[in-house]
């Protein structure tokens, strides 16, 4: 049963455009994450948010920025996309330290 909801499912855009992806969780978790999954299926954490505080940022380019309105929402904005940003972006949530991550279905971004 999906409890982490991501929109859109797919997005195609051109280099230099701005994009924004949405994520909402209905599990009552206090921590949310964004992961990037490349074409080889490698999973890399980008951000995590706990109580509106950014607690992990793994050398992500500055054009990426997380945006949170409350603990149930964590959006991802990419200011000026580049070809290497083509990937699947996965949102996740957890309670407390993250012993169990719940992932959404992902947003597939294609940059032409």
């Amino acid at each position: 049963e999906t409890a982490v909801f991501q929109t859109p499912n797919y997005h195609v855009t051109q280099v230099g455009n701005e994009v924004s992806f949405n994520c909402k969780q209905t599990l009552g978790h206090d921590t949310m994450y964004w992961y990037k999954q490349d074409s080889k299926k490698l999973l890399k954490i980008m951000f995590s948010y706990n109580n509106k505080q950014l607690i992990v940022n793994e050398t992500v380019p500055r054009r990426f920025s997380p945006q949170s309105s409350d603990k149930a929402h964590l959006n991802l904005r990419i200011k000026s996309v580049e070809p290497e940003d083509s990937a699947v972006y996965l949102c996740a949530s957890s309670y407390g330290g993250g012993e169990r991550l719940f992932f959404g279905h992902g947003t597939k971004l294609s940059v032409l």
């Binding site: 982490v4 490698l42 992932f103 992902g106």
Partner: protein, 111 residues
């Protein structure tokens, strides 16, 4: 630098066989090792996990074997079913805020 490595990259077994997926890590501080299962078009989902104080964890057809001295672990899937076809990720963390995922093993179970 990949801190968690998995092998093989892909694996094909026949229905009913045992699939063995391997994982190794470098950081001695890792003490929690979850395995996630990912089907096409979906996000990963927690399948089974083990802590470093244990050397074995079993859940139905899925068993983790853990060797702390060699920094290796493996996931055994007995009586493999076509529905088990998915990508499996070994992960590790020293504390649960910093989960590091492995490179993944794509498993195909043929009927």
């Amino acid at each position: 630098q990949q801190q968690v490595r998995q092998s093989p990259q892909s694996l094909t077994v026949w229905e009913g066989e045992t699939a063995i997926l391997n994982c190794s890590y470098e950081n001695s501080a890792f003490d929690y090792f979850p395995w996630y299962q990912q089907f096409p078009g979906e996000g990963p989902a927690l399948l089974i996990a083990i802590r470093s104080v244990s050397d074995k964890k079993e859940d139905g057809r899925f068993t983790i074997f853990f060797n702390k001295r060699e920094k290796k672990l493996s996931l055994h899937i007995t009586d493999s079913q076509p529905g088990d076809s998915a990508t499996y990720f070994c992960a590790a963390s020293p504390n649960t805020n910093k989960v590091v995922f492995g490179t993944g093993t794509r498993l195909q179970v043929l009927p």
